[in-house]
């Protein structure tokens, strides 16, 4: 009955621990790689120019390294995507959580999941060859590459994220809160807007921010349908370039290691990582707060 030292158990636990730690190594790997190349980049380009120069032309003879035009493209396409996905996603969530029968709910949710499972390159094709031609008939002056069409398609892609996560949040709101309001003679709509929505707010906000983060990081749709012209504009009708699309553009060319063009993609990636990191942390924090409130 006296203690035996179980070597195998200890070895296995150690191996499992290392596996769990591997995710931390991945994060460090990302930060290290990005930081190293970005550091090299800023040896040649001033950080001030990077942040305030209004032109991004590293691939031209006369080089400018202002990240603003790329972020303008990212911002514009993200804003369009959110303008589509937020209202539709939120209304769907309210409908599914408060109005729809259980049967409809269980039928619709997996279909929404399919929408999220479609590869982004497919959405890119759809934006470029289906949505843009249709929009060109409706909107005069829309060029073949633009931020409007990929923005809309990106919005459609993000609907399931917002609808599903917001619906989860609303579903977690205790029935007693609704009953209190219904007993006072409120309609379902009033209960949804005045009781459920505020109660689930942090959960809904988390889903929204996660959607923004997804749109900011989305690559293939904008790389295919938005163009390759970095430009500081809020005009959704003209070709632009996002941070992500720029990385794809350089990766497709034959840029030798160590050149300034090569380093630009890491600097761009670093900026992208920082932005999405903060968005993800806010979303994580909001979700956690919501869970502590209701679960």
């Amino acid at each position: 009955m006296y203690k035996r030292f179980r070597v195998k158990e200890k070895i296995i636990e150690g191996a499992l621990f290392l596996s769990a730690l591997s995710s931390v190594f991945v994060t460090f790997g990302i930060i290290a790689v990005l930081f190293f190349e970005t550091y090299e980049f800023f040896k040649e380009v001033s950080i001030i120019d990077f942040l305030i120069d209004t032109q991004w032309t590293p691939l031209f003879a006369e080089k400018h390294f202002g990240i603003l035009p790329l972020f303008a493209g990212t911002f514009l396409s993200t804003a369009i995507a959110m303008a589509v996905s937020l209202p539709i996603g939120l209304i769907s969530a309210i409908y599914l959580s408060e109005y729809a029968s259980e049967k409809l709910r269980t039928a619709i949710k997996p279909i929404l999941e399919v929408l999220a499972a479609v590869p982004t390159v497919v959405y890119g094709y759809f934006a470029l060859l289906f949505v843009t031609p249709i929009l060109q008939k409706l909107v005069s002056g829309l060029s073949g590459f633009n931020s409007l069409s990929p923005g809309i398609v990106m919005g459609i892609m993000i609907i399931p994220i917002i609808a599903s996560l917001s619906e989860d949040a609303m579903h977690a709101v205790p029935m007693s809160l609704r009953e209190g309001a219904l007993a006072l003679g409120s309609t379902k709509f009033q209960v949804s807007i005045k009781v459920v929505l505020p109660a689930a707010f942090s959960g809904i906000a988390a889903s929204f921010i996660l959607g923004v983060s997804r749109a900011v990081g989305e690559t293939m749709i904008v790389a295919i349908a938005a163009g390759q012209q970095p430009r500081l504009t809020l005009n959704p009708l003209v070709p632009i370039e996002t941070v992500t699309a720029y990385i794809v553009q350089v990766s497709l060319g034959d840029t030798p290691t160590g050149t300034i063009e090569y380093k630009t993609i890491f600097a761009a990636g670093m900026s992208l990582f920082v932005v999405t990191f903060f968005l993800n942390m806010i979303s994580y924090w909001l979700k956690k707060r919501f869970r502590e409130e209701y679960e």
């Binding site: 009955m1 006296y2 203690k3 035996r4 179980r6």
Partner: protein, 251 residues
């Protein structure tokens, strides 16, 4: 009679909650000892100390000594895995593994490195026979254990405990999830088991304690109030609280 467990000034804590207070008594071997008391009195906490199942709860702390066979089972050099092999347990709700009936019984042997088909077959049959369920399942040993009824599942769990040849079997309210007919079968079984095993049973059902046990301990709010022969406990208890409880005045 031989003493199986010697409990000395046992105190239990869950975080700040003092769950058991200064419990001391001896549990004899090869007999049935019942632990009774109203819910929340610490009887389940107590029985889970005997095979150190409480170790799995992070906030659990223990003070005092439990000697099994003369050895302090909470001493640092005790191997808890070996201990649990010698002291088996049957739980409140039947908890068969989601595997075949055969696999449920054979598991205890397999983890000891016993893989010989003949040994396993023999043990499976013998254990199921001892647990009085062999006739009901012998035709379908490869069916999922989850296809059995609740009472059958619980007897399967008893067979599973028997298969590793323990010295003690602990029952933590084994019939609380069962109907009266299934309960009667388990009770018969427990009475038979004491020939070979030391049995400790926690129950909230006083009649059950009276029917199956040789001695009974009465717990109340973390303290052991009285411990005596079962006959005496139910006919002529020394303590007023015990009397109130066994006559059904509270609980």
């Amino acid at each position: 009679m031989d003493i199986a467990f010697k409990i000395e000034k046992l105190n239990n804590f869950y975080g700040n909650k003092h769950a058991l207070k200064q419990v001391s008594f001896d549990i004899p071997a090869k007999s049935v000892t019942a632990i009774i008391g109203p819910s929340g009195c610490g009887k389940s906490t107590f029985i889970r100390c005997l095979n150190r199942m409480n170790d799995l709860i992070p906030v659990f702390k223990l003070d005092g000594r439990i000697l099994y066979d003369g050895t302090d089972i909470y001493s640092k050099d005790i191997d808890v895995i070996d201990l649990r092999r010698r002291i088996g347990m049957v739980f409140q709700k039947p908890n068969p593994f989601p595997k075949s009936i055969y696999e449920n019984i054979a598991y205890g042997l397999k983890i000891q490195g016993i893989n010989k088909r003949e040994v396993l077959d023999k043990t499976v049959e013998e254990s199921l026979k001892k647990a009085a369920i062999w006739d009901e399942v012998k035709e379908r040993l490869n069916d999922s254990a989850l296809s059995l009824s609740g009472g059958q599942q619980q007897r399967l769990c008893i067979a599973r405990a028997i298969a590793v040849e323990p010295e003690v079997i602990l029952f933590d309210e084994p019939c609380s999830a069962l109907d009266p007919i299934a309960t009667a079968k388990i009770e018969d079984l427990i009475i038979k088991l004491k020939i070979d095993y030391t049995v400790v049973i926690v129950t909230h059902n006083m009649q059950q304690a009276a029917r199956v046990s040789d001695q009974t301990a009465f717990f109340y709010i973390g303290e052991m109030i009285e411990y005596d022969k079962t006959d005496k406990m139910f006919t002529n208890p020394s303590n007023k609280l015990t009397e109130d409880y066994v006559t059904g005045r509270f609980g």
